[in-house]
């Protein structure tokens, strides 16, 4: 009978938890069973393969299920087992709420009675036994009492590590309906996870990789095949289901390009952002910052610093105030090698490690070593209890001196651990759940496009506890790009690089040299203009007033004025919007998204205008105005330069007279040749390349990518601005201050009469 009692106990072990989650809330109708009605009945077998009804021996789940399913194959192809978690079949496959099997569950034929066969593919309730806060039931979600104190051990894998690492909660419940002590909870109308609320359960995305019913994820497929039609039959699969579960990607189900129409550069965004970057704007569970597992006393919390909790360690976890936090967007190389921004939380963890193998010492072993007769080892207790009140307060439960560490080390060695030592590592935990739908996803461009945005700032990962070694970067953290782990004055930080490796984010990334070059150029030009204007003003009385006779001449045709002013208008708009895109912290006129849209639209107008003007100049032969004459060109160029630097101050006449045949002086010809043949094409080409970065990413990367092209475009815009300043200044050097301007407005200029201006039209 002893054996029977044990059998009941074993089968009933996972069940209390399941039963508690399947209670239906008042007001709901009956809970429909999720059990597979087709599963045949079977005998319960012991380790020897005999029915326990006759042998009275202990139930062997492996033998019982293994009678039909290939238990050895399943266990060796089971990620849980690979990770050292030896979950048995029933822990994941017994339908929630199933009554425990007893000897009465067996029929006269020795098989389980039909109604006792309540088996199912794993439900969220079962995953929730070990994987943090997965909540599928009706009652409001709340933090379990042991949320902060339970630590996984080899024999007790039940833990909340997954939620504690990032704050992720997988539940379809609306956040406002939960019992979390959460800031602004009542305004959070969205569910914790949009998939959970839409009945996408854990196994919808984490399913057996050889399940023939699922053909949306075929591993090792050939490039010319989308799917492989050759599959296991269902009977083969049921015998040997591969328990290395798939981690489905968002795009296995979703077509991101079917939506997101509001985004400019859609394809580029999809390429460099994980879906979660925008669709997990914030997380609502308590997330750790620094964990200390070196002193796992029963009932004590191993988390020293929480990222988003108020209150102190002495308080019950559910009484502490949670504030949602935005996970950190960090660039990370995906499996296919492309760097992509994904949300992470960074956590530093300290634990005892066997120095030889580098393997962490099981918490159960450490805990056993610390205890003597179920109480804290008296030597340790004496050392820890610094205020000698007979209790170990949370703030005392830390190995903050070498003496305490050495004592624990001795205790560990005494219990058989070879070369124990404390090691810390700072690890990055990627956020995959807690998805929100389009309504609450990040939509504002400024969330990333700006110097002070979600991409900026160093990330605090706690302080190195007293007498502890500095942590090293964990396996995932060491594959992060664009930053590094840094410990300064005991403070552990992820220091972001000034620019993300391989990623150029408008508004956030700046290339120092391009900004500097542009600014220097612009400053020199402005300074020159100011000095020159100052000198002109200072010398204005000394200049003799020359009143040569002038004549009004129709100098600029309607079309010439049209294309000029269109060009001026579009260039000014382009510079305004361009600077807003590049320096959103300084220029905020139109909003980021508007600035991008206007920039793209106006650029098209400007290019069209330029080509029409080119056609006009070629067909009307007006192009010769811009071509320097061969004879005396250099001489005239020097004369014009000399005029601007000297003659203009003493009232000397213009060295080259403006005529209808010759509207531009040599200096202007050179400038416009450069402007129209070098700078203008440069801006157009780099602009088009940036625009098409979305469409042809391969071509784009091969010519240097955004990190090269964008700064060039930036320098070009500074040069345009410089030109604009000089241009506007020099039009004041006509007959009168405004005569050049008014010529471009109405077409008529005042020209010296002594030139042959007799014919018109």
């Amino acid at each position: 009978m002893n054996n029977l009692a044990r059998f009941i106990l074993i089968v009933a072990l996972p069940l209390p938890l399941l039963a508690s989650t399947s209670e239906s809330a008042p007001g709901t109708t009956s809970v429909q069973s999720v059990a597979n009605p087709m599963h045949p009945s079977f005998a319960l077998l012991d380790e020897q393969g005999h029915s326990i009804q006759t042998s009275g021996a202990e139930l062997s789940v492996n033998k019982t299920c293994g009678a039909c399913h290939d238990a050895d194959y399943i266990n060796s192809n089971n990620q849980h087992w690979v990770d050292g978690i030896h979950a048995n079949c029933l822990q994941c496959h017994m339908a929630p709420g199933t009554p425990a099997w007893t000897i009465d569950s067996l029929g006269p034929d020795g098989l389980l009675r039909k109604e006792a066969v309540q088996l199912t593919s794993a439900t969220p309730e079962q995953c929730a036994q070990c994987h943090g806060l997965v909540h599928a039931a009706r009652p409001p979600l709340s933090l379990p009492d042991d949320f902060s104190t339970r630590m996984a051990t080899g024999t007790d894998p039940q833990e909340y590590d997954w939620t504690r690492a990032t704050g992720e909660i997988f539940s379809g419940q609306k956040i406002e309906e939960s019992y979390l002590n959460l800031q602004d909870r009542d305004s959070q109308k969205q569910p914790f996870d949009a998939h959970a609320s839409r009945m996408v359960s854990c196994s919808s995305c984490h399913y057996s990789s050889n399940n023939p019913a699922r053909n949306d994820h075929v591993q090792g497929q050939l490039s010319y095949l989308q799917k492989d039609p050759r599959k296991l039959t269902f009977s083969q699969y049921l015998q040997r289901p591969n328990h290395k579960l798939v981690n489905a990607q968002c795009t296995d189900c979703h077509s991101p390009l079917a939506g997101h129409k509001f985004l400019t550069q859609r394809e580029r965004h999809m390429e460099v952002l994980s879906c979660q970057a925008c669709h997990v704007p914030s997380l609502h569970g308590p997330a750790a910052k620094l964990e200390d597992r070196t002193l796992p006393l029963p009932g004590a919390s191993d988390i020293r610093t929480w990222r988003n909790l108020e209150g102190d360690d002495g308080q019950p976890i559910s009484a502490r105030f949670i504030s949602a936090y935005s996970p950190f967007l960090l660039p990370h190389a995906e499996i296919n090698g492309t760097p992509r921004l994904s949300p992470f939380n960074l956590v530093t963890r300290y634990e005892w490690v066997e120095a030889g193998t580098g393997r962490p010492v099981d918490i159960a072993v450490v805990r056993a070593a610390l205890l003597q007769n179920d109480a804290i080892h008296p030597r340790l207790s004496a050392l820890l209890d610094t205020n000698a009140n007979g209790h170990i307060e949370p703030q005392e439960a830390v190995l903050d001196t070498q003496e305490k560490q050495n004592l624990v080390k001795d205790l560990l060695m005494a219990s058989g651990v070879a070369q124990p030592e404390i090691r810390g590592h700072s690890e990055a935990f990627k956020v995959a759940h807690g998805i929100v739908g389009a309504e609450t996803a990040v939509r504002d461009c400024e969330a990333c496009h700006g110097r002070d945005s979600r991409l900026s700032g160093d990330i605090d990962i706690g302080e190195v506890p007293h007498a502890f070694p500095s942590p090293t970067a964990g396996p995932v953290a060491s594959t992060l790009l664009g930053g590094q782990l840094a410990i300064t004055d005991g403070r552990i930080q992820w220091k972001r690089a000034d620019d993300f490796h391989e990623l150029y984010v408008f508004g956030y990334s700046r290339r120092g040299w391009s900004d500097l070059a542009g600014l220097v150029l612009f400053s020199f030009a402005s300074l020159f203009v100011l000095l020159h204007a100052g000198r002109r003003i200072a010398t204005r009385n000394r200049r003799k007033q020359v009143h040569s006779e002038t004549v009004r001449v129709y100098l600029y045709s309607t079309y010439e004025r049209l294309w000029h002013w269109l060009m001026a208008f579009t260039v000014i708009l382009l510079m305004l919007t361009g600077f807003e895109v590049h320096y959103p912290d300084y220029v905020t006129l139109l909003g980021y998204r508007n600035a991008v849209s206007i920039h793209n639209f106006v650029a098209v107008v400007m290019v069209a205008n330029a080509f029409l003007a080119l056609f006009y100049h070629l067909s009307s032969n007006a192009i010769r105005q811009f071509i320097p004459g061969r004879s005396r060109f250099l001489e005239e160029l020097l004369a014009q330069a000399k005029y601007y630097s000297y003659g203009i101050f003493i009232g000397a006449p213009h060295p080259i007279k403006k005529t209808r045949q010759r509207k531009l002086n040599p200096l202007q010809q050179v400038t416009y040749l450069g402007l129209l043949n070098v700078l203008f094409p440069l801006q157009v080409i780099t602009g088009v390349i940036i625009w098409m970065s979305s469409r042809w990413p391969g071509v784009f990367e091969s010519i240097g990518g955004l990190k090269f092209i964008a700064p060039v475009h930036n320098v070009g815009s500074w040069m345009f601005l410089t030109f604009l300043v000089i241009h506007v200044y020099l039009i004041t050097t006509g007959h009168t201050l405004t005569s050049n301007l008014s010529a471009m407005v109405d077409g008529y200029d005042e020209l010296d009469k002594d030139h042959d201006e007799t014919t018109e039209g």
Binding site: T29, Q32, G172, S197, M199, F262, T570, R593
Partner: protein, 475 residues
Amino acid sequence: MSKLRHFWVVGIVAVVVGLVFYLGIVRPPLEPERELAPKYEPKTRDHVDHSPYFTDAFATPQDVTRACLECHPEAATEVMKTQHWTWLGDEVEVPGHPGKQRIGKANLINNFCIAVNAGNYAGCTKCHAGYGWRDKDFDFSRQENVDCLVCHDNTGNYLKGEGGMPAPGVDLLAVAQGVGYPKRENCGYCHNYGGGGLGVKHGDLDNTLDNPSENDDVHMGREKFTCTECHSGGHHNVKGRSMSVSVEDSNNVGCTDCHGEQSHRDERLNAHTKSIACQTCHIPTFARRVPTKTDWDWSKAGDPNRADDVHHYLKIKGEFVYGTEIVPEYHWFNGTSERYLLGDKIDPSKPVDINNPLGDVRDRNARIWPFKVHRAKQPYDLDNKVLVPPRTSGEGGFWHKFDWNEALRLGAQDVGLDYSGHYGFVETIMYWPLSHMVTPKEQALGCDDCHGSQGRLNWKDLGYDQDPIVAGGRP
């Protein structure tokens, strides 16, 4: 030439216009556009102050009506065409019954107070929009008997009593001086109290709607609707219908009168609208504040040893169950229903449907609707197998003598049924489709409220093989 002097300005203006066109119309919007109800604007019509018109006291309520008709000569004829006056609908085919007939409150049986025409006129017609309906010989052609005040009193000082007459003590002059357009309280005066008390009948109509919060009713709470914004219609022909007294769906009010059927942002939700009524998701529970009656056992009535307790037992009415925040029952409904008519044979071995909704999973016009279901045990003739309406409030009725046999004999005589003298009690069911107390969208049902192992819909009963989230919707 001078005409073209500033032609370049035209060019710039053209670019600006093009830019605005691009930004405003061509460019995809940041927030996807949604098809919402046209922005609601309350119809703030000022009603003419009637106090100067009336100076002398009125001797009878009919005098008030005559005074109204002097200026509104068509009003009485209009009202007299409506069911508020006739308590009968237009001629209609009742499923399972030959020919066409007029049915309505006046000649139907229900499972609350059972029947008006079983000699109970004077008690029931307290809610008739007329004066003096005390027996079957009431003259429906007399205009002065139309009660203008019950709908148009804006003072809150008008009460009706026996036979629909004003309650004793009502100051008719003051009420007449204060008439206006119908307020929520005017409609609620009868409709919130159907079945003999606050919230008894409908489950989605009670006096919370007099001044509701937006969580009680988003239309009336947040948008400040009055009843007549939806239940509109000129010439006193108020739109709307109740399945308890009607079997068809014409001249009704519907959500899609204002809202588009495809007004959700989520395509998947829009796909639901061909099988799910709006109300199903947007009225997650009913009787959210005021309890409504869900069970009524007439067979327990008349026990002199039980104390009266208004929500549990009354000697004249029997035993009740009230509930709040009730999850509706869900059935297919295509807008039409069957109806138990007086004289129809019943099968006493199972519950009798009085007005079950029509439609099933194969009916393209049917959608899954939320219902308040009211179950009762009411008397029937053991030998003739028909429901018999007892005389209750009328003279010699059950409420006075507590004698079922006598009450049923009188009632049967009134409605023209044979009564064998042997009675029993049979369970009957009435269905009340829910349309009021619509919640804000944040509180609408989500996927897992209906789908999955804990869903509230019973897919097998609705005619599906299994949960359509797995197996797909109806073809």
